[in-house]
Symmetry: C2
Subunit: 105 residues, 2 copies
């Protein structure tokens, strides 16, 4: 569940969001988008959790693969719905992962 | 709740974790650490959510302020407990936020 990303450098897209009330088709689309992201060139993994705030971090090989995913037709439609229906606020941060380390029992 | 970070560039520390069973003093320490982080030089904000996976993203002015926080005495003790008691696995990724954008209703 913690993404098995390669040695840095690679990119992270940190998506932080606050949801509107109700599902309004959100869950179905969220699952669809993650399945679609997985088959994109340069996709390295994603992690997601939500309590009051939702945080989804997706990992990408380079800035070009993020841009292509941003412009993907179905993802573009989902992004429009996001502003119209699903989120009261969100922030997207595009970040270059410079180093990482981990621990496993 | 979504951190009001300044114009990029700034740093994000993405902490992804899987917890052990039980609290074992975790919640108290987690709250203490966030209060302590808030008063560190260069701290810009933090966002946190947990379901099966926990994701905490903290934002920092520069790499130096991250390093100082890493070496902070109380935080160092918490980090040791993390490996001993609280986590079955974690990953820390240090990333330079190059651009961001957002939406608010």
């Amino acid at each position: 569940m913690i993404s098995k990303t390669p040695q840095p450098p690679y990119y992270a897209v940190i998506f932080s969001s606050l949801r509107t009330e109700g599902d309004n088709g959100y869950c179905e689309m969220a699952e669809k988008m993650i399945e679609l992201a997985k088959v994109q060139d340069g996709f390295l993994g994603a992690e997601s959790a939500r309590n009051e705030i939702g945080i989804t971090v997706s990992y990408w090989k380079d800035a070009g693969s993020i841009l292509k995913w941003r412009e993907h037709a179905e993802h573009s439609i989902a992004r429009i719905y996001g502003r119209e229906k699903w989120y009261t606020a969100f922030k997207v941060r595009i970040a270059l992962v410079e180093r990482d380390y981990g621990f496993e029992r």
